[in-house]
């Protein structure tokens, strides 16, 4: 368990600090041989970059990727502040 926490911290910092990703908004959860990524990125290419960086730091882990591409459409409604 302790090792998983340190590994998760290393992976999270790698995603934040590696210039290919610089993602601070992605959660990293390590469970056994799996690492779960979750959160949102701006485009599909960035999802692939996340997996690449994780694989370099921890090639032994299987990446489960729940990261979504954030929608960029027009707003569906509006909020009236009263």
């Amino acid at each position: 368990m302790t090792a998983e926490q340190y590994l998760a911290a290393r992976l999270r910092r790698a995603l934040a600090e590696d210039p290919r990703t610089t993602e601070l908004g992605v959660r990293v959860t390590v469970r056994g041989d799996n690492v779960l990524l979750s959160g949102d990125v701006a485009c599909a290419e960035r999802r692939d970059e996340l997996e690449a960086v994780i694989h370099e730091v921890a090639p032994e882990l299987t990446v489960l990727d729940d990261v979504r591409v954030v929608p960029a459409g027009e707003p569906g409604g509006r909020e009236e502040l009263r």
């Binding site: 908004g25 949102d40 485009c43 459409g73 027009e74 409604g77 509006r78 502040l81």
Partner: protein
């Protein structure tokens, strides 16, 4: 009624050039002004700043921005600011912008903001130089925000920041990192100045809605929260007390 469009944390780069543009082309149908709550780029490079400038230039409504921590990563915030301003985007850091919207006046005061934490659970300007510098950076920015908001004499006043002024809109983020996500000093500045709405970004896992201790509405418009190119808030001027 003033329709305020807002989005933060668009994190544009060459790989996402043009993604927001289709929705932005129609922004005039939804909003009277568009606020950008920082983290416009990924790495804070001038090249990415040009992508942001292209994305938000030539829109049918005024665009007002503050920078975020990502926009500082390459130590070129002044250059990015210049690129954006050259493209017609109003960039605020301790300044204000005012607009006339259908006969009502709108004032926006903007700062990046910074961390430090929230009342009772915050850092102090004490101890090592690094710690003092951290908190003093926030103190200086909060003073600048209060001064800018205080200088506005408009029907509607909005505070635009990247970092959060309240913890409400951080729900969903780990509480341990709240001190890196915002500061109560920003909220205190907002409450001291008769502000109508506070808009921020930065907290991708937070919540959209919150309120300052003084009762000012706070909205977290980080794009992963609002899940569209921008969202819209309709703000009525407060009824003046006689």
């Amino acid at each position: 009624m003033i329709r305020v469009g807002a989005v933060g944390d668009v994190h544009l780069g060459e790989d996402s050039r043009g993604l927001l543009r289709p929705a932005l082309e129609k922004v005039g149908e939804h909003a009277d002004v568009l606020l950008l709550a920082g983290d416009l780029t990924r790495h804070g490079t001038v090249t990415e700043g040009r992508v942001v400038a292209d994305e938000f230039s030539g829109l049918p409504v005024p665009v007002v921005a503050v920078l975020g921590n990502h926009d500082h990563h390459s130590d070129q915030p002044d250059e990015i600011t210049r690129v954006l301003r050259d493209a017609g985007v109003v960039v605020l850091e301790g300044e204000t912008a005012t607009f006339d919207v259908n006969g009502q006046s709108l004032g926006v005061a903007g700062v990046k903001g910074f961390g430090g934490g929230f009342a009772g659970k915050c850092g102090s300007a004490f101890g090592e130089p690094e710690m003092k510098a951290f908190i003093q950076h926030t103190m200086g920015i909060a003073e600048s925000l209060e001064s800018a908001l205080g200088s506005l004499d408009t029907d509607v006043k909005i505070a635009l920041t990247h970092y959060a002024p309240v913890p409400d809109t951080l729900r969903g983020e780990p509480p341990e990192i709240y001190p890196f996500l915002g500061s109560y000093l920003l909220g205190e500045a907002i409450d001291a100045t008769g502000t109508d709405l506070a808009v921020h970004g930065h907290a991708h896992f937070g919540a959209e809605q919150g309120m300052t201790p003084g009762g000012v509405r706070v909205r977290n418009v980080a794009q992963p929260i609002i899940r569209s190119a921008y969202t819209v808030y309709c703000v009525e001027p407060a009824v003046a007390e006689v």
